[in-house]
């Protein structure tokens, strides 16, 4: 078994464990250990902060909502707030750890289809993200954002058309590229 697949198995085990355990002391200890391990192994602090940013709004809203709710029911809100936040961050950091220190595509290579699917999808997502941000820059530099409704609509239509056509042509070309490399010759 390769290292990546082992790490995937460990991740599944971690997630399963974290979703069954409701002991806040255990969850807090786990959080401390996974962050420590992440930093010791040379993980980027930026990645850590970015990951926190992604879920902080959700965590904040749910915490406040439950606090307000508890004012009416009279129960002690802190145990639940602590529990769900710890579990959320435990899981999110486990995934971050896996993503940064394993090759996720290789980890899923027990299913060839899935691992090819991931590479093709993720490569194209990166391309689309780049093009999308370029479209936004064009929109700003050509003042489409403040233009007439018709102009904005037209720009929107052009942009979506580009993505649809690109997606379909790319699918077509990728199929050809795979064929020319002999992909479909042996199953």
């Amino acid at each position: 078994m390769n290292k990546d697949r082992l790490m995937l198995l460990i991740l599944f085990f971690e997630i399963l464990l974290l979703s069954f355990v409701n002991n806040t002391v255990f969850l807090a200890l786990y959080l401390f250990l996974i962050i420590l391990l992440f930093l010791v192994k040379g993980g980027e602090v930026n990645g850590l902060i970015l990951t926190i940013k992604r879920v902080i709004a959700f965590s904040f809203v749910l915490s406040i909502a439950f606090y307000l709710h508890s004012l009416f029911t009279g129960e002690n809100p802190y145990r639940y707030i602590l529990l769900f936040n710890l579990r959320l961050f435990d899981m999110v950091f486990s995934v971050l750890f896996f993503r940064d220190f394993a090759n996720p595509v290789r980890a899923f290579s027990f299913s060839k289809t899935l691992s090819y699917m991931f590479t093709l999808t993720y490569s194209q997502i990166q391309l689309f993200l780049k093009v999308h941000s370029e479209f936004n820059m064009v929109m700003r530099s050509r003042m489409v954002k403040s233009g007439s409704y018709k102009e904005r609509l037209l720009f929107f239509a052009k942009m979506t058309e580009y993505f649809f056509k690109k997606a379909l042509r790319r699918a077509e070309n990728t199929a050809m590229a795979m064929k020319s490399r002999g992909f479909f010759l042996y199953d």
């Binding site: 290789r106 590479t119 093709l120 790319r170 990728t174 050809m176 590229a177 064929k179 020319s180 490399r181």
Partner: protein
Amino acid sequence: MIELLDIDFYFGKTPALKDINITIKEGEKIVLLGPNGSGKSTLLKIIAGLIFPKKGKYLYNGVHINARKLKDKEFEKTFRKSVQIMFQEPDIMLFNPSVYEEIAFGPLLFGMYNVEERVKRISDLLGITGLLKRPVYLLSGGEKAKVALASILVLEPALLLLDEPTAYLDIKSTKKLCGIIKEGSFTTLVAMHDIHIAKHFGRRFIVISKEHRVVFDGTYSELLKSNVVENYSFFEPEEIECNREKAYEKR
């Protein structure tokens, strides 16, 4: 080795190639020139047996290549191994988890021996040995182009089709690539639109016009003398070269 006879190709109703007649002998180094949209990529895909002409015939070593012929898996195997194409967007060719697996994919599939050694040799040649363990989806455009190139060169194909291979490459890698083509025993057909880079990539030049027809077929010096350069202003006739300004007199 290759005979293209009266070939027409359409995408729906959009024409992409018209009346194409080209014969290519083994070992020839050919450059395919033409403006964007003239049909270069389409022609390479036809030669690679990936799409089939609506009219006309394509013969590879005397065998008529069409959808029916390629249904024969044994034939398809030998054909695919000997004809390799690098696409204009090299990243669509990459689907393996790591660079090593990407380059080894073809050799393993076609049952070549010494796969590890072959992969190592080709990656040394292209200067990507340091990337072998990396996942392909995290590479830059230029790195992806080199990996795509390595994955097809490693198969030692008889016919190498390259679709604007220098688009993502820096000067150093471009020079390396034209060296590989010059030294290699394979037949090459390289699509390009920049004549100044193109002149290093072959001895025979074929020009396709905006109207999707072959308008020139000859050597570089003939090309410069011909009216193609003036009529099809997609390339500048002048070489861009530094002047020999003398800052000091020779002693």
